[in-house]
């Protein structure tokens, strides 16, 4: 087993599985192209094969040296002590940080950004450890005003307004206010 740990094998298995899925799926679009004899599949398949080679090379490196960084490597993205997630509280907090943005993104279509944004901003502050309600309220208002001022008033950027009532009505009211504001000058 050398210095291989279960984590190294799981990591390699994930990449090999991804490579297998991409290779397998390439048969779905395996059509000839009249002007190019290698077709649409050659390039992705070469990339997949090289990914398998690199994964195996990485596994062999882990077998020899474990998780240690190779000598002379530069600009490693995330060096330093890593957080221990054995504490369920820490893990829950981290999972909440990872998935809150997804809930926000999922809400953009039905609810719209104008209504969802303040709740999202406040939630992220809370998850980042801010517990002073007054600070959360003030900073949420500040960020919301910056967002509206820059993207709605100054740049008139088209943003998701939602498609369900009463959220859509709220977005429509914000846009109406903006139009009235623009008409002032």
């Amino acid at each position: 087993m050398g210095r291989l740990k279960r984590g190294h094998m799981i990591e390699a298995a994930i990449w090999l599985l991804i490579a297998a899925v991409f290779f397998g799926y390439s048969f779905e679009f395996n059509q000839p192209i009249e002007i190019y004899k290698f077709g649409a599949t050659a390039w992705p398949r070469v990339v997949v094969v090289l990914l398998v080679v690199a994964t195996l090379g990485n596994l062999y490196y882990s077998y020899l040296y474990g998780s240690s960084a190779q000598q002379g490597r530069m600009g490693i993205s995330n060096e330093g002590p890593q957080t221990d997630f054995s504490d369920p509280g820490t893990l829950t907090k981290m999972l909440a940080v990872l998935f809150t943005p997804f809930i926000f993104a999922w809400l953009l279509k039905p609810v719209g950004i104008y209504f969802a944004a303040p709740f999202f901003i406040a939630a992220i502050m809370w998850l980042f450890g801010e517990r002073r309600i007054k600070a959360i309220l003030i900073m949420t208002a500040v960020i919301y005003v910056i967002f509206l001022g820059l993207f709605l008033v100054i740049l008139n950027a088209p943003l998701p307004q939602g498609n369900t009532s009463p959220f859509y009505d709220y977005s429509a009211w914000i846009l109406k206010m903006n139009t009235q504001l623009q008409n002032l000058w």
Binding site: W15, I18, A69, T90, F128
Partner: protein, 496 residues
């Protein structure tokens, strides 16, 4: 040339509306480049429809100015927050962010200001003097095989920095290349890997992926540190680099100007590869290779000089051949088309006024980086004083808008957050985020040029080696690759 430059300058500064657009472009580019979560591309995407109401010269000039100042602005967030404003600023973060952690943010930002200005001004001057002859040289000597060879070399360089091992470096690049295969294939337009999602037929857009991998993943990394109690607020410093410190790196500046200009001139390659190559060459020529990635000022200098040197050069294939060098120059093509113009050799004869207004504006925009940059640096450094729990939601909000705005798809916001989680997990495992992004950007360019090249040489791969530039680039890429593999398993390469 001087007469034309003066004519361009007087056209630029002789009309109050044009001056206002120039100033807006300079400040807007710097601001959007320097705000974490959005980038010059966000601003450009928002402004694109409005350019229909401007004259062609004003529209193209506005985008050219945003390109120059936005490329510099992205260095600020790379240095202060480890969030590159654009992919071309990614290598800047390798040494810039460690400098911030060491309390040397002022030195790093000061060097970025000066070197961006030097790189940009030099590039603008070469562009003015040599656009036509360089374009003719490029037409004669640079074809799809050479561009493919440069992509290969660039990816080999990218794989050698940023990841924990050479294998993870290559895996990072290959992950990027694999993501780039999603969408239509560049030769036959056949849908690949859309997994039944209709919107994926158009592929993974760069902007959301880049925002996710850089900005959102960094937020998650900081969240992890907060959750685990290991978060350290960055130290603010206002000390700029001394003249002597910068003078010591004069050769790095000169080398990066050449590297940046060469990369910028090649169609489709742009400033991103220039920055990686500039950084890679700085490491290659340095006597103290080990200090790179730990806060070496030369890392910031090389990357920032090279990416701004590429901005002027990127205008050459755009104006002379009609080929954009990156996302922003591609938007400039749209500005031309909105005004029934087509960039290409004829534009020098049909619209010389436009060309020289743009050249003059780029020259002055790069000078503005030096003047406004030094003044605004102290203000920008104060961003570090904002507690991260307030900065994080602002960055996420801006990133959400940045991801949504270019195509108006909620799917792009989803893609951004998926890229954020993926980036966070891969960073924890020692993969290189800049490597993934470069693979993503160069994937389609590489495939398209490989396919065109193979058609050109009738599928005889050996012909690639009979073309001198192509052979040299492939050999350089292969040497970089095998030297790294040798180092990975050589007895002296004990892990640290």
């Amino acid at each position: 040339m001087i007469e034309n430059f003066l004519a361009g300058s007087s056209a630029l500064f002789g009309d109050p509306v044009t001056i206002a657009i120039f100033v807006f472009g300079v400040i807007g580019g710097m601001l959007f480049g320097a705000i974490p979560g959005v980038s010059m591309l966000t601003l450009a995407a928002i402004l694109l429809p409005f350019t229909a109401g401007l004259t062609p010269a004003q529209g193209v000039m506005l985008f050219a100015v945003i390109y120059c100042t936005g490329t510099y602005g992205g260095a600020i967030t790379a240095i202060l927050f480890n969030i590159p404003g654009a992919p071309e600023n990614a290598p800047t973060a390798f040494d810039g962010y460690p400098m911030t952690q060491q309390g040397k943010s002022g030195k790093a930002v000061g060097a970025a200001v000066l070197c961006s200005a030097i790189g940009g001004v030099s590039s603008a001057l070469i562009m003015m003097a040599a656009t036509e002859p360089l374009a003719q040289w490029a037409i004669r000597n640079i074809g799809p095989p050479e561009i493919f060879a440069l992509v290969f070399f660039g990816l080999a360089v990218a794989s050698s920095v940023g990841a924990r091992t050479i294998w993870k470096g290559w895996m990072s690049v290959l992950i990027g290349l694999l993501i780039a295969t999603i969408g239509q294939d560049p030769v036959g337009g056949i849908n690949r890997y859309n997994f039944g999602v209709g919107d994926l037929a158009a592929g993974i857009a760069f902007v959301p992926a880049i925002l996710g991998f850089f900005a959102v993943s960094e937020i998650f990394v900081q969240a992890e540190r907060k959750a685990g109690g290991t978060y350290k607020a960055p130290k603010v410093s206002m000390s700029f680099p001394t003249f002597l410190e910068l003078w010591m790196h004069k050769f790095a500046v000169l080398r990066s100007i050449l590297v940046g200009f060469f990369c910028g001139i090649l169609p489709g390659i742009g400033a991103t590869l220039a920055a990686f190559m500039g950084y890679g060459e700085a490491v290659r020529w340095s006597k103290d290779k080990e200090s790179f990635g730990k806060g070496n000022l030369e890392g910031v200098i090389s990357s920032e000089t090279a990416n701004n040197a590429a901005t002027g050069a990127a205008m050459i294939p755009l104006l002379a051949l009609g080929l954009p060098g990156g996302a922003l120059t591609a938007m400039m093509v749209a500005v031309f088309q909105m005004h029934d113009l087509q960039p290409g050799p004829l534009v020098f004869y049909t619209s010389p006024d436009l060309i020289w207004v743009v050249f003059a504006a780029m020259f002055y925009a790069n000078l503005s980086i030096l003047i406004i940059g030094l003044v605004e640096t102290k203000t920008i450094l104060n961003l570090l004083k904002i507690p991260f729990q307030f900065l994080a939601p602002l960055i996420l909000m801006l990133a959400t808008i940045g991801a949504y705005i270019s195509r108006g798809l909620v799917l792009d916001v989803m893609v951004m957050f998926i890229a954020g989680i993926l980036g966070y997990l891969l960073r924890r495992s020692g993969f290189s985020i800049p490597g993934i992004v470069l693979g993503l950007i160069l994937g389609q360019i590489g495939e398209q040029n490989f396919a065109q090249g193979m058609q050109m040489v009738h599928y005889d791969l050996g012909t690639y080696f009979s073309r001198p530039i192509c052979a040299i680039l492939i050999a350089a890429g292969a040497v970089t690759l095998f030297a790294n593999i040798y180092r990975a398993f050589a007895p002296a390469a004990q892990p640290r």
